[in-house]
């Protein structure tokens, strides 16, 4: 992997001699977030209300949780296109386990689990999909783009097969079977804040800690910065890659569970093209697609930018086609700024040298 000389290789970026320009560039996602929030607050009186902001963050959470997992993958220089399908697969798994239970033909019984176990099993399925991706990429040397593209189809097809294309409706469970309470995940709240937001905060905090403060996190950055160098310095590159795809699968499965719980139904098509939203959030947050550079909090801010845009444009009643154009332009602008920052930093580094 070719890496320009000025690109920082180690994780938490400690810039020496921050100039104002670089600082502004680095905070561009945050600035964009503030500007958009300002614009929508002026244009729509119901935008900057406590209730709408809670809803907005709740809607963002779905994308943000996926994007957190995606950040790890992109930090290693990989990509995971299968997350949208994993969302659908995990949603269908939870639907199946609640409405039909798990049939065990050899024993001739159907096992019904309670909701915590169902959630755990669906998350485990996400890990499994991630492990499958990781295996293809590390053991069979398939390029991440292709491996996860394949998984995109396999996982989506499996989701459709699970109920022959139909929705699992009305996921409220039955009291006799002891599997009620699934809708709480999507609709419940703690201390006035929806559980969905707590989950996002939890995922983000743990991920930020892992990425920034643990040896594993540093190794992730190292693999993305220069894989060969990382390997030579004794990092188990295979193990790191395997783990990041599993994290990504887990996060996607969490999103699937939330969506199914919110809709109180599991639809096999849910999550289609979500992978692109997740990648957009990661890129908006300043993570480089080449790997080795980026932060979890940046991703969260990136997801919030998309969330603010979606929510604000709906409140303003902007036509669907324009919404797409505007969202696209914001993403392009972010990447252009990203390139400018890189060039600015290189120039500064040269001047100092």
């Amino acid at each position: 992997m070719h890496i320009p000389a000025a690109a920082p290789v180690s994780a938490p970026v400690k810039p020496s001699g921050l100039s104002l320009g670089v600082l502004l560039f680095r905070l561009r996602a945050l600035i964009a977030l503030c500007v958009l929030t300002g614009i929508f607050s002026v244009l729509s009186p119901s935008f900057f209300t406590q209730q709408n902001l809670i809803i907005l963050v709740g809607q963002t959470a779905i994308n943000a949780i996926m994007a957190v997992g995606m950040t790890f993958v992109i930090l290693t220089g990989g990509i995971d296109l299968s997350v949208g399908s994993t969302v659908g697969l995990a949603a269908m798994a939870s639907g199946l386990l609640i409405n039909r239970g798990l049939p065990l033909p050899p024993l001739g019984v159907i096992v019904y689990f309670n909701v915590p176990v169902i959630i755990t099993l669906s998350l485990a399925l996400g890990l499994l999909v991630g492990a499958f991706n990781g295996l293809l990429i590390t053991r069979f040397n398939v390029a991440p783009f292709i491996a996860t593209l394949g998984t995109l189809y396999v996982a989506r097809g499996t989701a459709q097969l699970s109920n022959n294309g139909a929705t699992f409706p009305n996921l409220v469970g039955t009291r006799e079977l002891g599997n009620t309470g699934f809708p709480i995940l999507g609709a419940g709240s703690v201390l006035g804040i929806p559980i969905v937001i707590w989950i996002m905060v939890l995922f983000a905090a743990v991920a930020a800690f892992v990425a920034g403060k643990t040896p594993f996190g540093r190794q992730v950055y190292a693999v993305g910065g220069n894989e060969r160098a990382a390997e030579l310095s004794g990092i188990y590159v295979t193990r790191i890659k395997m783990t990041v795809y599993m994290i990504c699968g887990l996060c996607a499965a969490m999103t699937g569970l939330i969506t199914a719980s919110q809709l109180v139904a599991a639809h096999p098509g849910v999550g289609e093209s979500y992978e692109l939203n997740a990648i957009a959030a990661v890129v908006l947050g300043g993570t480089s697609l080449a790997g080795g550079r980026g932060t979890i909090w940046g991703t969260i801010i990136g997801a919030l930018v998309i969330g603010v845009l979606t929510n604000g444009l709906v409140l303003l009643g902007v036509q669907e086609f324009w919404k797409k154009v505007i969202t696209g332009l914001v993403i392009i602008l972010a990447v252009v700024l990203d390139q400018l920052q890189e060039r600015l930093q290189q120039r500064l580094a040269l001047r100092r040298a």
Partner: protein, 323 residues
């Protein structure tokens, strides 16, 4: 040792002749078998949507009962894929094609290609913008259906109050026709006020989020009318989660999930597209055409939709309702 290998090889070769002979016999017998049963290809958008699944299932069942072999193909609303599927159907020498097409203009070429190859197409659910190419075009009357749904909505609303409209995918003709049907009826009541209209692209999760956002701006809406049932379900889930389960929601399609919801007293009504009937009619006309050379009907045929509400939901079964 060498002798032994030789004999094994001979044995192997001899064994190989058995499947080879079978294969040859199969190839020779194939036309004879094919002549016994004619093939009807059924080309549909996606089996994921219960609506299209019911459509495909009904066509398949009808064709089998009339003694045809069937081949169900899926184009996922991609005209290019649809074109390739038509090639497949032509190569398989299908006797007729039942098609729910992938675009009013983008599908004309494929249907024409089949016609040139001598295969008649029978269109269901969606029309194409050409006549004389397909043998029949059977569609449910979306405008009449929308008017029916809107009238029920007016009745439920008591002719007054704020409401929201969720529109389907704006590139889809039916989304426009349904929206027009709703608005032509609803605009006649001055006390009914449409406070917001948004597209949720026929999508459940999107309808959930958009409804969630809209009720921030308009917390006092009394009703919500949706361009299809999937969006109605998403919208109702959002309303219920916000403690607004009493908002009047009316959908369109007559899907099994909404029928369940009506039974539970949640969504108030939907408009049933007689999709099972459409499909069966198309196959019947194909059968008649193959036997007599005539379909016995006009090319363009519309079939009226039926309202489903708590009064008749008991007689509902997968996209059909007993009076």
């Amino acid at each position: 040792m060498a002798k032994h290998t030789l004999s094994t090889r001979k044995l192997f070769l001899r064994l190989l002749t058995v499947p080879a002979l079978l294969l040859a016999a199969g190839i020779m017998l194939q036309p004879a078998l094919a002549q016994q049963k004619k093939l009807i290809a059924i080309v549909v958008p996606s089996p994921e949507n219960p609506f299209f699944k019911a459509l495909a299932d009904a066509a398949e069942a009808k064709a089998k009962s009339l003694g045809y072999e069937t081949l169900v193909l899926v184009h996922n609303d991609d005209p290019v894929k649809q074109d390739q599927l038509f090639d497949t159907a032509i190569a398989r020498k299908a006797a007729a094609i039942i098609l729910d097409n992938a675009g009013a203009d983008a599908s004309i070429a494929a249907v024409t290609k089949a016609k040139t190859a001598g295969i008649p197409s029978f269109l269901v659910d969606r029309e194409i913008n050409a006549t004389g190419v397909a043998m029949a075009q059977l569609v449910s009357n979306n405008y009449q259906g929308a008017t029916l749904g809107a009238e029920e909505f007016v009745r439920l609303m008591g002719e007054e109050g704020d409401y929201v409209e969720l529109i389907g995918k704006e590139t889809d003709t039916n989304a426009g026709i349904r929206s027009k049907g709703y608005n032509d009826t609803l605009s006649q009541y001055p006390k009914l006020k449409k406070v917001a209209a948004q597209s949720a692209n026929w999508n459940q999760a999107e309808a959930f989020q958009k409804t969630q956002t809209i009720i921030q701006q308009f917390p006092n809406i009394k009703g919500l009318i949706s361009g299809n049932d999937t969006m109605a379900l998403g919208a109702y889930a959002a309303l219920k989660a916000a403690g607004k389960g009493n908002v009047i929601v009316v959908g369109f399609d007559g899907s099994p999930d909404v029928a369940e919801s009506i039974k539970a007293g949640e969504i108030r009504a939907t408009v049933l597209q007689p999709v099972v009937r459409l499909s069966e009619l198309a196959v019947e006309q194909a059968d008649q055409y193959l036997k007599t050379g005539k379909t016995g009907s006009e090319e363009k045929q519309t079939i009226d939709c039926v309202l489903v509400n708590p009064d008749n939901v008991k007689g509902y079964a997968a996209f059909s309702v007993k009076e």
